[in-house]
């Protein structure tokens, strides 16, 4: 016999899965647009706004379940983790929008040297793969899947600092390119951090242990 709280937890999980899909779409659309020199600002803005609304819905639903059922043990950990993850998903959307805003203001990578384009592309791929790990570990509630993110996060961090070092050494052709790419790379690094936070929430949800995966 399923418990009364189960229906609410299922609704919350479904909202989060929806957020995961939208966040993945927002980041991918934004980065592809940026790399391929195409504005996807309006679509990304729509997705980012929807993510913000869904985040509020998750929070309201979680508070309702706390008030109605006084959850404890794994139920309590699920609610705490889901609220945090909803925030992280909303941040994915917000950073995706930030990338497109940079594109609107400063343009993309067209005038940049090849090594800049390659760096941004490579880092983007890694970050999107981190987003997908965070979504997969949420769907499976699997702490082992969540833990696999650490290695990629380390690579993203390395790329980020290597990129900043290279910038100092090689100084790209135009200032505009420098500013644009630095900002975008910074957002990528922040998205990676939120993917880590999600995976930390999954480890907590599944095992009760608070771990730092960074």
């Amino acid at each position: 016999m399923s418990r009364l709280i189960d229906r609410g937890l299922e609704q919350l999980a479904s909202l989060l899965f929806q957020m995961g899909e939208l966040a993945d779409k927002a980041v991918s659309l934004s980065l592809n647009g940026y790399i391929e020199d195409t504005s996807t600002y309006e679509q990304v803005q729509g997705l980012s706004d929807t993510l913000a609304i869904l985040r509020d819905e998750v929070e309201s639903k979680a508070f309702e379940l706390i008030a109605r059922f006084q959850p404890v043990a794994s139920d309590l950990r699920i609610l705490r983790s889901y609220m945090k993850i909803a925030y992280d998903f909303a941040r994915y959307g917000r950073y995706a929008l930030d990338v497109q805003q940079i594109y609107e203001k400063l343009g993309g990578l067209k005038e940049c040297e090849d090594w800049v384009k390659e760096s941004v592309e490579e880092m983007s791929e890694k970050v999107v793969s981190m987003i997908r790990i965070s979504i997969d570990s949420l769907k499976s509630h699997d702490a082992d899947t969540a833990r696999t993110i650490t290695e990629i996060e380390r690579q993203v961090d390395d790329m980020y600092f290597k990129y900043l070092d290279s910038l100092m050494e090689k100084a790209p052709a135009t200032n505009r390119c420098t500013i644009s790419s630095v900002l975008v790379v910074r957002y990528l690094e922040r998205i990676a951090d939120h993917a880590i936070y999600i995976c930390e929430s999954i480890v907590y949800l599944a095992t009760g242990k608070r771990v730092a995966l960074e």
């Binding site: 418990r3 404890v72 043990a73 794994s74 139920d75 309590l76 950990r77 009760g208």
Partner: protein, 252 residues
Amino acid sequence: MSYKFEIENLNAWFGSKHVLKNISMNIREKAVTAIIGPSGCGKTTLIRCLNRMHEITPGARVSGRVLLDGTDIYGEDVDPVRTRRKIGMVFQKPNPFPMMSIYDNVAAGLRLNGIGDREKLDSVVERSLRMAILWDEVKDDLRKSGASLSGGQQQRLCIARALAVEPEVILMDEPASALDPVATAKLEVLIRMLAKDYTVVIVTHNMQQAARVSDFTAFLYLGELVEYGHTKDIFENPQNELTEKYLTGEFG
């Protein structure tokens, strides 16, 4: 960190029925320890073993050691009546002496111990009723029957009666199960206040009550101690699957 009780391999039987199995746990002084578990798991028997009340039931038997301040209360030369004097008990249903006034209910224990001095009695009755957060509600009606009070007030009167004889430990067996939510909330505030001066052990079937009032929680199942620890840890991250299932309502 000091322990009021150290329970070692405690077993209890009703006739041939083995109701507590090898319970070993230490109960912290001046803290609230909650005992939770499904009906029939041995919660009430466990606290009744702490003041030697279990053995009063015909056919009941106990083995193991229960150290109170380091002395085994089941030791050969220990007087159970003296032990019980240190340990007050509050029951599920408020049980004030129905023919006595509020004042006499609280003074009863002292009078039994031979104290008849009016001033002394007045002062203990007032202090006990204040500690039980009942004084302001009854101070003008001390001669009224204890039975005339509401259920919640009667339960606090029983606590005042227990406090009057200056116990060190207060055992509570489902003390709020007959009370409405407002009376329950007052009782829970009182329990927290009592923990400043007394060791409180509370049996409750209301898990949220255990979560609200206790510092430590023990989960019993089929007479065995399954898990025992800080209430925060038990309710947030139980280590045993049985505890997890009981707390989340998968059985019980």
